[in-house]
């Protein structure tokens, strides 16, 4: 019951704090794509894979008082900071979630910037294509981000290292 909510809360709890909605979206997408059983469905949007269901669930968790959302002004726009509330921690104690090695992966991703995670998630989204085609997709669909060949290579390496952390190699 409310298992999907609990999984998401667990993800935020083990990440300690996630800053930015884009970052949260990408972290969950990458985690789901490499190994972890998150249920939210993703589609391709402006910033890469995006889940309306995830947005909704986060909003619900805030309304329920399980998640704390702090809105802060940054340059020309607002960004959001997410942590678990005391009630959220209490809920998670009753509805514990077992996802071994998720914490290692999420903490690592949390240390990366949103721009890089956007690239990593886009590479994963097109992962069934050959590398050259993935690059073409990245350069065409993400032309404003001006990613370089080197960055795409780094994204591939990073995906490999996350898979190792998740125990897939």
């Amino acid at each position: 019951m409310l298992k999907d909510h609990a999984k998401l809360m667990h993800a935020i709890a083990v990440s300690e704090e996630i800053v930015g909605r884009k970052k949260l979206q990408k972290m969950i997408y990458i985690a789901k794509n490499i190994a972890f059983p998150f249920q939210e469905r993703f589609q391709f949007h402006f910033y890469g894979p995006y889940s309306e269901e995830l947005t909704l669930r986060v909003e619900e968790l805030c309304n329920m008082g399980f998640l704390n959302e702090v809105k802060e002004k940054k340059g020309g726009y607002y960004q959001y900071r997410y942590t678990l509330t005391e009630t959220g921690k209490e809920f998670l104690d009753i509805n514990s979630v077992e996802m071994p090695s998720l914490q290692d992966c999420l903490l690592d991703m949390n240390g990366q910037n949103a721009r890089f995670l956007e690239l990593v998630s886009t590479v994963l989204y097109f992962n069934d294509l050959p590398k050259e085609e993935v690059k073409e997709k990245v350069f065409t669909l993400k032309s404003k981000q001006r990613y370089t060949d080197e960055e795409v290579e780094q994204a591939y390496q990073y995906i490999g290292s996350l898979r190792e952390k998740a125990g897939l190699h």
């Binding site: 995006y50 340059g75 065409t140």
Partner: protein
């Protein structure tokens, strides 16, 4: 003559209750409609379990797909034709993407996708790009045409204008399903002046825009969408049927994992249970097959599977109470324990279901809510986001409405022949005594 430009010797028409007629003149469209993968959509209902609430809602994804095609055809041939921003070369791509946008939907796809971790968009791509009749037809246009169509549907095409016709906050998909679902359910919501909206649509490089004079028709469209979501799509009785359907699939999957010997061997489900479904297996699935198993499983020995199937087939659905997860999650834990004591498995018989909709949203830079907003074309040629001009739309922009309900089998809870005291406690907690 190139296949993409080939016309039928005579126009074909399909009689349609929403658009009166669907007109087909292009050979490629006619050939796509004839493929077995497209014909399969006749056997998949557009609204899943809604027919158990609104008995008229038996229409299929086939009807809807033709409807979306017809709307896009009219935009392309009647409104955009000859405008400098519209490239006639994109016409056939847009029509094919409109026709095929729902091709990968499976039977009762909402429940199936949840239980078996499937994604209809993945199957839409797989059917378009795989070894299928649809792929053969598309390849006759050009070798890379299937990929182009798949990219438009997946929103990964660089042609944003074409994508926005099929998938945006005012697209042909929504315009068809709102009217079609209103027609077949018989509700009075869902109606808006589509003719007016089509006439004021204008192509721009990145998306379709709406002439300012059409703003009130767009307001009406947004409000009718809002009404349809809460009065039809999220109807609590439909959700009850959906909950039971999902639980049937869960139970069958669990029993398979427990090596239960089904009286009626679910051969069509094995690849789903094992997570090894092939495209060929997937295309074979339709609602007739699923309902066949539900019919037969009413005779299974497993009491839960049998009961759930009887409930679904006989429309003996769960009742519900309003539920506030923030305030009542502890109550849910208590209820779950009481259900166990009463011998009713809460995993199958105590279900929280949530619905939520955001009627309209605009783009905020730097954020992740990435809905493409509706843009108005002002008389002076400027482009302005809809909610900045419309007070009605501004009032509902970005405002999500969410509803949680707790579903349970009222007949089990009311039956005091066993564990009457525990049942009484359950009724008290549910506040139904």
């Amino acid at each position: 003559m190139a296949y993409s430009a080939e016309k039928l010797s005579e126009e074909k028409v399909f009689k349609d209750p929403v658009h009166r007629y669907i007109h087909v003149r292009d050979r490629v469209i006619w050939d796509l409609i004839g493929t077995k993968e497209f014909q399969r959509l006749r056997r998949i209902k557009q609204l899943g379990t809604t027919y158990l609430t609104f008995h008229g809602a038996e229409h299929s994804r086939f009807n809807h797909s033709l409807g979306v095609y017809e709307i896009v055809r009219r935009i392309s041939d009647d409104v955009f034709l000859g405008r400098p921003e519209w490239d006639e070369e994109d016409r056939i791509l847009t029509l094919c993407a409109a026709l095929l946008h729902d091709l990968g939907h499976g039977p009762f796809s909402h429940s199936f996708e949840k239980v078996f971790d499937l994604d209809h968009e993945h199957y839409t791509r797989a059917i378009i790009l795989g070894d299928t009749e649809v792929h053969q037809v598309l390849t006759r246009v050009s070798a890379d045409f299937p990929q182009k169509v798949a990219d438009v549907i997946a929103k990964t095409s660089k042609n944003k204008l074409v994508v926005s016709l099929i998938s945006s906050q005012i697209d042909a998909d929504r315009m068809d399903y709102l009217q079609r679902d209103a027609y077949f359910t018989g509700v009075s919501y869902g109606h808006f002046d589509m003719e007016r909206i089509l006439r004021v649509m204008r192509p721009r490089e990145d998306q379709v825009v709406i002439k300012q004079s059409g703003m009130h028709a767009v307001e009406d469209y947004i409000m009718s969408r809002y009404q349809m979501y809460w009065q039809v799509y999220f109807h609590p009785v439909t959700r009850s049927a959906e909950v039971i359907l999902t639980k049937i699939l869960h139970r069958a999957k669990d029993l398979h994992e427990q090596k239960y010997r089904f009286k009626y061997d679910p051969i069509h489900f094995y690849s789903l249970f094992n997570g090894e479904i092939t495209l060929e297996d997937y295309i074979k699935l339709d609602e007739a097959i699923i309902l066949y198993y539900f019919q037969m499983w009413q005779e299974e020995e497993d009491p839960i599977l049998k009961d759930l199937c009887c409930r679904f087939m006989d429309r003996n659905l769960y009742k519900y109470v309003e539920f506030d997860p923030a305030k009542e999650y502890k109550k849910l834990t208590e209820l779950s324990a009481l259900f166990k004591k009463a011998g009713i498995d809460p995993e199958y018989y105590l279900v929280v279901d949530s619905s939520s909709d955001l009627p309209y949203d605009f783009y905020r830079p730097g954020e992740e809510e990435e809905r493409l907003p509706i843009h108005l074309l002002l008389k002076n040629g400027d482009i302005r986001e809809l909610s900045r001009e419309s007070e009605i739309v501004d009032a509902i922009s970005g405002k999500r409405r969410t509803d949680h309900k707790l579903y349970y089998p009222a007949d089990f809870i009311a039956d005091d022949s066993k564990k009457p005291n525990i049942k009484k406690q359950i009724r008290t907690l549910l506040e139904i005594d």
